[in-house]
């Protein structure tokens, strides 16, 4: 799934990295616990979270090649978070949907990590 599709599906507002929406992502993680994010192999993925502090960007950097962070429930990140994301080259978006709905929308439209391919068959 391309990032511009993520934007469309979530009806999201792009906060930074508008020029990087042509990148492809292969999986996602929805979490507010940074250790749960750290347990995820975030290669070429999207992180959905309700946290807006700079540690979200640092955590995304550490788990690998995270392409995009989506803030749910219309939350706006701090200036510091925005700056860190720009430095790291990570696209930032925010959407109005709560976490469960945002994740469900992306999953049902085909953003299913390889290891959960079995589950996607029931959709």
């Amino acid at each position: 799934m391309k990032l511009y599709e993520v934007k469309e599906i979530l009806d999201a507002e792009v906060l930074s990295g508008e020029d990087k929406l042509d990148q492809e992502v292969f999986g996602a993680c929805g979490a507010d616990l940074m250790s749960d994010v750290l347990a995820w192999k975030g290669d070429k993925g999207v992180l959905l979270t309700g946290l807006t502090n700079p540690q979200v960007v640092r955590t995304a950097e550490v788990v690998g090649d995270v392409k995009c962070i989506v803030f749910v429930r219309g939350k706006r990140p701090s200036t510091e978070t925005m700056e860190l994301a720009k430095e790291a080259g990570i696209v930032l978006m925010r959407c109005k949907y709560p976490m469960f709905v945002a994740c469900g929308l992306l999953f049902s439209r085909g953003l299913v990590p390889d290891e959960y391919g079995e589950i996607s068959r029931i959709l």
Binding site: S35, L51, Q55, V62
Partner: protein
């Protein structure tokens, strides 16, 4: 810099302040930048940085301050996280997934999930923890050869 040029070892040292949540993750960001220059496989970089990040946050959240010393050898990474108290009261419980003694302020920032030490264990090849009320020391080793290569 690449692995061939890394003849002996390369050391990174950082002081980590207690409760300095805002700067949390800076050490692992710096480590990531160095490891990327060494052209290590991304999975190895990820494992080293996750262990480093969790150790760094543990010092920030739980200790009175400490330091991280990271030595990169041609075949392995050795990280020592050392802090000055109050120590881990129940190490067996601390190794359990989901057990946490983190304060509310850490939880508000998304930390304190009780996954710190389990995440470190899962991402390292060797983990040695010594702890008493004066402080805690973690020795973490990630091998660059072996199970992931």
């Amino acid at each position: 810099m690449n692995m061939e040029k890394l003849a002996a070892s390369y050391r990174l040292e950082y002081d980590v302040k207690a409760k300095d949540y805002v700067r949390g993750g800076e050490v692992s960001s710096a480590l990531r930048a160095v490891l990327k220059q060494l052209s290590l496989p991304p999975e190895l970089v990820r494992r080293c940085c996750v262990a480093c990040y969790e150790a760094e946050m543990n010092v920030i959240i739980h200790s009175l301050g400490g330091r991280l010393q990271i030595d990169i050898y041609p075949d392995r990474l050795v990280m020592v996280a050392e802090d000055s108290g109050p120590g881990i009261e129940d190490l067996d419980k601390a190794m359990e997934e989901g057990y946490s003694t983190a304060p509310e302020e850490a939880r508000e920032m998304g930390f304190g999930a009780g996954m710190g030490l389990p995440n470190i264990k899962a991402n390292t090849d060797r983990l040695v923890i010594t702890t008493n009320p004066e402080g805690t020391r973690l020795i973490m080793e990630v091998l660059f050869v072996g199970k992931d290569s």
